[in-house]
């Protein structure tokens, strides 16, 4: 069932993925990860705070349900690696916790929305300070375009062409009351 949230301007916010759509996309990403690597050996899922963390957990649970193997899940806060710290004050940092040695492993970074790529740039630096993985891949729920850096995802839940004044809201189980993906239209282009 499609539900409508209120946008920043008070108007309706179109929903582009329901809670069920989201679950299916996450399950497919889990299958794709296992398929590409012919199994689960050496895979470490690392969620980027805040919504990437429960998403990584959900991918791990899905993989466990069809492969009967629990892959390690870590969490990463990129607050200290942002390139706009001077202009955007930080609040509390999230936890960074990687349960295994990353050397030689395949790290799959997990985040909700891929936009400019700057968050992922920061996450790459943060992961490389924590160890020397064999490779790093990227899984996102939504790729909304408008990249400012040469970064591309390896696993995508949904490609979502947007304009820059729009906002993409991913709400997920474990953090938000209702799961799904919405587009907030924001102010009209001529405003």
């Amino acid at each position: 069932m499609h539900r409508t949230l209120r946008s920043r301007l008070g108007g309706p916010m179109p929903q582009v993925m329901t809670s069920d759509d989201l679950d299916r996309a996450i399950r497919r990403i889990g299958h794709e990860i296992v398929e590409r690597h012919h199994g689960t050996d050496g895979i470490v899922l690392v969620g980027i705070h805040s919504r990437g963390v429960p998403l990584a957990e959900q991918i791990a649970s899905d993989i466990e349900s069809f492969e009967k193997v629990r892959v390690p899940v870590g969490e990463l806060d990129i607050g200290l690696y942002r390139d706009d710290l001077a202009s955007r004050p930080t609040t509390r940092l999230g936890r960074t916790l990687i349960p295994v040695d990353l050397s030689g492993e395949t790290v799959v970074l997990v985040d909700d929305v891929l936009y400019t790529g700057r968050t992922i740039r920061a996450a790459l630096d943060a992961v490389l300070d924590l160890g020397r993985p064999r490779r790093i891949e990227l899984a996102v729920i939504c790729d909304r375009g408008h990249r400012e850096l040469p970064i591309r995802p390896d696993y995508v839940g949904k490609n979502l062409p947007t304009s820059e004044h729009q906002k993409v809201k991913v709400r997920i189980k474990g953090i938000d009351a209702e799961a799904g993906v919405w587009i907030d239209e924001g102010p009209p282009a001529d405003a």
């Binding site: 200290l80 690696y81 710290l85 930080t90 940092l93 960074t96 630096d125 300070d129």
Partner: protein, 305 residues
């Protein structure tokens, strides 16, 4: 928060925020690469007019762990010996472009003057017998990490209270955080204004041994005249030294802290200093983390006008 000059400027929420960040930086310092790029491109001036090993090294380490550059000034072999004033030295250092100054000086109030002259954010790293806020914060972080919380702890501060900026900063901030404080010292080593501190006092260490969670020992500050006001070291030890026998009488779980430098055999027995109750080395390592938190907050927060 624009400066950190006195613990009196911090309310409980602000202290909690710095301790939370301090916890995060303890985690960063434990990584294989204990360095993050958060303050890349920032320069921090360290002006240390008084001898200091741990505090200067700790600020230096904290700045570098955040990828900031450091300009260090100490008066030995500098223009101070050629008669340069504090103001001219501060303005000279300022002209080299630091984004923040860390100041230690033997005169009370010097960090405030330097802030007013330079307009830079200033961290007080100890002014005379007045304030040493980052020492208080690292002690609070050490206590919170050890006990889970500071609220409700019973803390005895023992020794040369009168000449101690550590005691002044710590007593104030402990009370802000909900701990109760007793100062223990010869009457000649108590400040004349102890009444206004709102703390209890005791005339000998034996009075408090049975009912404390934390014994915080202070060195006799001979350089500020602290050695001239009691008859002998032996007599001081007999009433105020934390001997092995006294340490054995502390309640289970009670801890011993010292800001350093320690005079082993005077305020603290050497074996107690190295014993299981001592948190001294934790204080030193937490000091780096809490100074990272202070530098990070001051250099990445927007200044409310």
């Amino acid at each position: 928060m624009r400066d950190l000059l006195s613990v009196d400027d911090l309310d409980r929420a602000e202290i909690e925020d710095l301790l939370d960040l301090g916890d995060d930086f303890v985690e960063v310092l434990g990584r294989d690469v204990p360095k993050v790029p958060a303050l890349r491109g920032k320069t921090i001036g360290l002006m240390f007019y008084e001898p200091s090993t741990r505090t200067r090294l700790s600020f230096d380490r904290a700045a570098k762990a955040l990828s900031a550059d450091v300009l260090t000034f100490t008066p030995g072999g500098s223009s101070v010996s050629k008669g340069e004033s504090l103001k001219d030295t501060a303005l000279t250092l300022q002209a080299m472009g630091p984004h923040l100054m860390v100041v230690r000086h033997k005169a009370t109030g010097a960090p405030w003057r330097i802030r007013d002259w330079t307009g830079l954010p200033v961290v007080n790293a100890g002014d005379g017998a007045h304030q040493h806020p980052t020492q208080a914060l690292l002690d609070l972080l050490t206590l919170r990490r050890h006990f889970g919380q500071v609220d409700g702890l019973r803390v005895a501060i023992v020794g040369d209270i009168r000449h101690s900026r550590v005691a002044r900063s710590l007593a104030g901030s402990l009370q802000t955080m909900g701990a109760s404080v007793t100062v223990v010292a010869p009457s000649t080593l108590l400040p004349i204004d102890t009444q206004s501190w709102g703390v209890a006092s005791a005339a000998g260490i034996d009075e408090i041994l049975g009912e404390v969670d934390v014994v915080y020992l202070l060195r006799i500050q001979t350089e500020r005249g602290g050695g001239d006001v009691f008859p002998s070291v032996a007599e001081y030890v007999s009433r105020f030294g934390l001997t092995r026998d006294r340490a054995d009488r502390l309640p289970d779980g009670a801890v011993v802290m010292h800001p350093g430098p320690m005079n082993r055999g005077v305020e603290i027995d050497p074996q107690v200093a190295d014993g299981p109750r001592a948190l001294v080395t934790h204080q030193v390592s937490n000091g780096i983390a809490v100074r990272m938190a202070v530098l990070f907050r001051l250099l990445t927060s927007e200044v409310p006008e």
